[in-house]
C-alpha cells in the first residue's frame, strides 16, 4: 500500500473581490422599462423567476419587479448612473448596494454536497441547473445562490453575514479537507 498524503480537497471557497452590485426595481409589464435597462446592460434581463443571465454583468432575478446586477467595482458607479438616466421616465429605482454585499465562490466536485448541509433546496445538478439562482437560507444566513457549471456555485450574502458564512462554509467543508478562507 503506497503512502498517500492527505486527500486533495475537492472544494475551494474564495471571496470574489472587486465586485459591485446594483439593485434594480421596475415594473416589467409597464412600458419599455425592461428593454431600456437591457440596452444599457448590453444583455437580456432574466424574465423567469429564479434565473440569471451572464454577460458583461450578471443579472439575477430577485422578485417579479426586482433584480440584482453584479458587475465590477470600477464599473458600478457609471453603470448605475447610465441605468438611472435611461429609466428616468419610468417608475423605477436603481440603487448602488455594493457596500452591503459580498460575493463568494464555492468550487469543486464537493461544492454542492457541502452547501446542501445547510440549505433546504435540492442542489443536485439535475435540479439546480446552470443559469438558475435562488434566494434561500444557508446555515442561518439569507443568501442568493447561483449555479454556474455543475461544480461552481456563487453566493451573494450580506456583508455583515459574510464572516459568519465563511466560517460556516469552512466548518461544513472541513471533513472534505478544505481550509478556512481568508477573512
Amino acid at each position: 500500500m503506497s503512502e498517500a498524503g492527505p486527500p486533495r480537497p475537492r472544494i475551494a471557497i474564495s471571496v470574489r473581490s472587486g465586485r459591485g452590485f446594483l439593485n434594480l426595481r421596475l415594473n416589467p409589464r409597464r412600458g419599455q422599462a425592461l428593454e431600456a435597462a437591457e440596452r444599457i446592460l448590453g444583455q437580456p434581463m432574466p424574465r423567469a423567476a429564479n434565473t440569471f443571465t451572464a454577460g458583461e454583468n450578471e443579472v439575477y432575478w430577485l422578485g417579479p419587479d426586482e433584480w440584482l446586477v453584479a458587475t465590477g467595482a470600477k464599473r458600478v458607479s457609471a453603470l448605475g448612473s447610465e441605468l438611472a438616466e435611461a429609466l428616468g421616465g419610468f417608475h423605477a429605482a436603481v440603487n448602488d448596494v455594493s457596500g452591503g454585499h459580498v460575493e463568494l465562490l464555492v468550487r469543486g466536485a464537493d461544492a454542492r454536497t457541502v452547501l446542501a448541509k445547510g440549505c433546504t433546496l435540492d442542489l443536485h445538478p439535475r435540479e439546480f441547473v446552470p443559469g438558475q439562482c435562488a434566494q434561500t437560507g444557508l446555515g442561518r444566513a439569507a443568501v442568493l445562490l447561483a449555479a454556474g457549471d455543475p461544480s461552481t456555485c456563487t453566493i451573494v450574502v450580506r456583508r455583515s453575514f459574510s464572516g459568519y458564512l465563511r466560517r460556516w462554509l469552512a466548518y461544513a467543508a472541513r471533513p472534505r479537507g478544505a481550509r478556512l478562507p481568508a477573512l
Binding site: 423567476a49 429564479n50 430577485l62 426586482e66 433546504t120 434566494q135 434561500t136 437560507g137
Partner: protein, 105 residues
C-alpha cells in the same frame, strides 16, 4: 416542516417564510364613523377557525413578496397559494384613505 408554495419561487421550506395572519381584512372605508368597539374589532380580533383558513405569508428569505395561502388549521394541508394581485391588492385601502381625508376637509 411545512412545504409552502411561493407563487413566484415554487415550493420552499417553511423556515424561509414568515406568517402574516388572517387574510382579507379590509380597512374600514371610514374609520371616523366607527365606534371604539368596532375599531378594536378591526384592529385586534381575528377569526381563528378550526378548518379552512385564508392567511398571508411573506417569503422573507426568498423573493420578499406577500402572498395568500389557504390552509387547513387542523391538518395543516395547504389547499392553494395565490398572488395578491388584481382587485383587493391594496389599492382599495389607498382609496379609503383618500376618502377619509376628503371627509375631514
Amino acid at each position: 416542516m411545512l412545504l409552502i408554495e411561493c407563487p413566484w419561487c415554487g415550493p420552499r421550506a417553511e423556515t424561509e417564510f414568515s406568517y402574516g395572519g388572517e387574510a382579507g381584512i379590509e380597512r374600514p372605508a371610514d374609520p371616523y364613523a366607527l365606534s371604539d368597539a368596532e375599531w378594536a374589532d378591526y384592529l385586534f380580533f381575528r377569526r381563528n377557525p378550526r378548518g379552512a383558513h385564508r392567511e398571508l405569508w411573506h417569503h422573507a428569505q426568498g423573493c420578499r413578496r406577500w402572498f395568500g395561502v389557504e390552509r387547513d388549521t387542523v391538518s395543516y394541508r395547504i389547499e392553494k397559494s395565490y398572488r395578491l394581485s388584481g382587485a383587493g391588492s391594496g389599492r382599495p385601502a389607498a382609496a379609503h384613505i383618500e376618502a377619509s381625508k376628503e371627509k375631514r376637509r
